[in-house]
Structure formats: structure tokens, C-alpha cells
């Protein structure tokens, strides 16, 4: 059986222009390689491919533009390599800067919305439960599947924009309801309520979850009443960094898990599911793993992976309580949040206190941190995972309060009692 319908094959042959033809052939090749029997329509896309890794990606995007390619569905853009808002100054060399800029322009020219955020779901892009979409960026994928209940696989560079142009994706994996059921029950009911009610629990639990689950789908019990959207965001981002997690269920919280049995696909499936009881010791180990530095030196602080919401900036401001920061402090967020902060004057007041906002990009994907290296403190499980490899900085992990107190004091200040 051919993968493409006659109409799709005509597009691949050039009926709708060279750009659409190339996009259709790429989607068809991906379907063949993944063993998908057909393509399905998608309602939206989130595109991670506009981050500069080298000139070839820019040339690819410009080839699509030259071929007249336009996205056929709502498409938001993930971070690029440049802060186009101008909150921060990156250090890309001139050639790389120019090629990164050309790449960002090419994706905008195809009709993608210049959202430039890894948290598109907090910038108004929220597909409905059960909708098939084609999203890239691991944290956005896991949030889209788990919290919104829309359906996407992890669409990598090039395939994301190709799906957006032809409004189709290969039919496999998490698009199919049978592949979205939990096979593991993760029991958090033995953990102290104080721990579960702390923001810092969520990225640490997510790190443990990614390591323990790998690519398996779990349903977590014991977190109803503690979850907020920003906490689920932090959990998913950490789990998708430490493991290949594309979908999780939280019983009583996420849309496909009114209870554990439903998430597993029935009582029989629930009875067959593996059970893991989470202990404080497991989480202490995961938390320890997030830090790679020793001693009390901190050279800079970075928060906002995924990009900060307005609520998270509120928490930063409350913790800061009018004090000045003594260390470089990078707060990564989207332009949708910067606009809100400018509207009420808080961008200026927070910058006066020593906060450097980083918009449209973040500190682990492009050089923003001082080239001297040193120790970076963060409350993000994802930053903690990637910063050593991509920035050369060692990491101290802590809660938001620890990050702010350390940046005020100019050295590591951390409250570890929660984990004992």
C-alpha cells in the first residue's frame, strides 16, 4: 500500500509548488522510516527547527522559502539563537549571527508566528484534547501530550516545518490512542505533603521520573491537589531531559487520567501494570545528581527553562522583596511575558534590581553567559541537565528561593531541610 493518497502524491510531485513538494516528500520519507502506513491531518505545529546549529539548516529553510512554502496550519516558533527583543546581548560571532538571523527570518517568511518561546502553551497555543498536532521541542511535546491531552510525537528538526507546510504527519506512536496508555503506576502517596507542596519537588521528581521510566508511560498517584500548570511544566521538562518521556499521566489531574485505571486502559490493565513506590531517598539521589559543583561558589544564576510564566516572575519578585542582586541573574522568558512586564513597568524595576531578561532564546542554546565559565545556579531541571555540556559551567541546583538568596549573598545559600 502506498503511504500517500493520490492528492498527497500530486503535492509531492510539485502540484502545489517546489517548497510544498519537498515538505511532502520529507514527511513521506519519515513515515516510511517509522513504519507509518499513512499520513493524518494535523491542526497545528510548534517548530523547533529555527535554532541555528550550522549554515546547512539556514540553507534548508531558505530553500523552502524560495519554493514558495507556507505553513498551512497555525505554527508557533520555539527559541532561536538570538534575543530579537534586545533584553540581553548574545556573543555569536558575526557570520553565525548573520546566518542565525537569516534562519529566523526564513521561518517567519513561511508564516510561522514569531513567538520564539519554548512554552508556546503559555503564549496562547493550546490545542484541544484529542487533537492531532505536530510539535517539536521536548518540553513542549510532553506538555502538549500530558497536560493539554493533544496528540503529538516528538517531531525533530526539518520534520516539524515539513508537517506544518503540508498539514499532515505520519500516523504512528502517540497519535494512536492505544499507545497512550500507562503501563507503570508511580505511587507518590508516601511522600510528605510538605515536599509535594514545594515547587522544587516537581523538577526533581521529573528528573527521577525520566531516569526511572525512560520511554515508558506512567500514571502518577498522590499528586492531585498539589499540581499547578507551572509545576507540571517543570516536571515534564525535567523528565524529557533525563529520559525520553513524551507523555505522562497524573491521576486526578491530567485529562486522560481521571483515575489510574482509566490511564492504564481498564482495571485489568491496572492490575498488570508495574508499580513503583517513590521514596524520599530516591528523590534525594535525583536532586544530588542535578548539581555538579562542590563548595559555596556561585558565579551566575539562570532561571526560566522552560520560559518563565508571568506567575513565575511574580514569585521571583516576591522572593527578591526589593533587594538588589549581587551576581549576574538571567531570567529566560518569551516576548509574550516581556510585553506583560513592560505594560506594568515591572521589566524596568526588575532590571534595576539586577535581573537580566533573556527573551526569544535561552542561556543553554546560545552564548549569553560570560565566557569565563564557573558555577551556574538554577532551579530548572532542564538547565541543570544541559548546562555543563553546552555552556561549560558547573551547576548548583536549588529552589527559586535558594537561587535568589545566593544571588543576593554572592555565594551559595541553600535550604536542604526539605529533602532530609
Amino acid at each position: 500500500m502506498p503511504i500517500l493518497t493520490p492528492d498527497e502524491a500530486a503535492i509531492a510531485a510539485g502540484e502545489a509548488g517546489d517548497g510544498a513538494a519537498m515538505a511532502m516528500r520529507i514527511v513521506a520519507e519519515a513515515a516510511r522510516l517509522m513504519g507509518a502506513p499513512r499520513l493524518i491531518p494535523v491542526a497545528s505545529a510548534h517548530i523547533d527547527g529555527a535554532l541555528y546549529h550550522g549554515d546547512s539548516g539556514t540553507l534548508f529553510a531558505e530553500r523552502l522559502v524560495a519554493g514558495g512554502a507556507k505553513v498551512a496550519v497555525r505554527s508557533t516558533l520555539n527559541v532561536g539563537a538570538l534575543d530579537l527583543v534586545g533584553c540581553s546581548r548574545g556573543r555569536l560571532p558575526p557570520h553565525e549571527h548573520e546566518m542565525a538571523r537569516r534562519m529566523m527570518r526564513a521561518y517567519e517568511a513561511m508564516g510561522c508566528a514569531p513567538t520564539w518561546t519554548c512554552a508556546p502553551y503559555q503564549a496562547g497555543h493550546r490545542p484541544a484534547v484529542g487533537t492531532d498536532v505536530a510539535w517539536g521541542e521536548s518540553n513542549a511535546v510532553v506538555f502538549c501530550n500530558s497536560v493539554l491531552g493533544a496528540r503529538t510525537n516528538r517531531y525533530g528538526d526539518f520534520l516539524d516545518i515539513a508537517c506544518a507546510v503540508v498539514a499532515r504527519a505520519p500516523d504512528y506512536g502517540l497519535h494512536q490512542a492505544a499507545n497512550r496508555k500507562a503501563t507503570v503506576v508511580v505511587d507518590c502517596t508516601a511522600l510528605s505533603p510538605a515536599l509535594r507542596a514545594a515547587d522544587v519537588f516537581w523538577p526533581v521528581f521529573g528528573t527521577w521520573y525520566g531516569l526511572a521510566m525512560g520511554g515508558a508511560i506512567g500514571v502518577v498517584e498522590g499528586l492531585a491537589g498539589f499540581a499547578t500548570e507551572d509545576r507540571l511544566k517543570a516536571l515534564g521538562a525535567a523528565a524529557a531531559s533525563s529520559g525520553g518521556v513524551g507523555l505522562f499521566h497524573i491521576a486526578g489531574v491530567t485529562p486522560e487520567a481521571p483515575d489510574a485505571a482509566t490511564a492504564c486502559g481498564g482495571l485489568d490493565a491496572l492490575a498488570r501494570a508495574e508499580r513503583i513506590t517513590v521514596t524520599g531517598a530516591m528523590l534525594r539521589e535525583a536532586c544530588t545528581r542535578l548539581s555538579t559543583a562542590a563548595g559555596d561558589t556561585v558565579d551566575a544564576v539562570a532561571i526560566g527553562s522552560p520560559h518563565l510564566s508571568v506567575d513565575e516572575v511574580d514569585s521571583l519578585e516576591a522572593q527578591l522583596a526589593g533587594r538588589r542582586l549581587a551576581l549576574p541573574f538571567f531570567a529566560c522568558t518569551g516576548r509574550h511575558v516581556i510585553r506583560a512586564l513592560e505594560a506594568d513597568g515591572r521589566r524596568a524595576s526588575l532590571e534595576a534590581a539586577g535581573v537580566t531578561f533573556v527573551a526569544d532564546t535561552c542561556v543553554v542554546v546560545t552564548p549569553v553567559l560570560a565566557p569565563s565559565g564557573g558555577v551556574l545556579m538554577t532551579n530548572s531541571g532542564k538547565f541543570a541537565h544541559y548546562a555543563p555540556g553546552t555552556t561549560g559551567y558547573a551547576v548548583q541546583y536549588g529552589a527559586l528561593a535558594d537561587c535568589v538568596e545566593s544571588a543576593v549573598a554572592g555565594r551559595l545559600v541553600r535550604e536542604d531541610a526539605l529533602w532530609s
Binding site: 520519507e29 522510516l33 523547533d48 546547512s56 521536548s138
Partner: protein, 155 residues
Amino acid sequence: MELNTETVPMATATTETFAVEDLLPGTGSGNVLALTAPISFWGGVDPRRGTIIDARHPQCGQSVAGRVLGLPGTIGSSSASSVLLELVHAGHAPAALLMHEPDAILLLGLVVAREMGWPTPPAVRLPAADQARLAGRDVTVGDGQVRPLPAATGP
């Protein structure tokens, strides 16, 4: 090359031709670099030179450029395709890929390279155990076969 003859005893090296499934067509020849652990191309391979830069990887420091690269597994980022495309564009791509399991995200880099009209190495499916048996050998990949070439010079 010497590294590989050390890790694979000569008794297990092979002169047999392997029939393989073509994942992406083409032909390529080179010396087999059989990785002994899965790799993430993003963060694991330098896109500008083709050197393995993942400090935890057993083949760290070796270059994939021009080699017939045996991949026992792939892990990690959805930007692997970008790294492979960049290697092709810069002339530092492997001569061919031998994959234990097809990885669509990685192979998409070759699909796009072909669309761009750039010379593109083939990719075939070959079990990791067979990749290991070919380690250090000069081979030709293409037309459904991985064929060892006669040794040009003795060890």
C-alpha cells in the same frame, strides 16, 4: 584503525558479505568505525568537524568523517538530524551508516541532504554484533550489501 583491531580479535573478523536492508539508498566505502555504545549526535558529535565529543562515550576523540559508522543505538536530542545535515554540508559526514535500529530523527538529516542535492551517504540496517565483526575493516556499502574489501596491506 589500530584501536579497532585491538578491540576485535582477528579470529572474529570476517570476510563474508552481509545482505542488508537499505534504509536510504546509495553507495559508500570506508573503514568501519563500530561504536561500542549508543550516541546522541547533538552534543555527542562536533557538527563542524565530525569528532566525537561526548566525554562519556568510549570512542570519544575519534572522528566519524569518512568512516563507515556502525551505530549500535542512538539516543537523545531531536536536533540529531541538524548535526548530520551539517556534517554532510561541511564534507565531514560518515561514508555510510550501519544502523542496528533505524532512527528516523537521525536519518531525516540524510533525507534533507538528498533534497538539497548534496552528496548523501547510504544507510543500511545491520545488527550491532555484525557491526562489531566488521570493526576496522575496509568495506563497501550499497545495493543491499555490506562487502569487505580485500586487505590492501597486511598488519
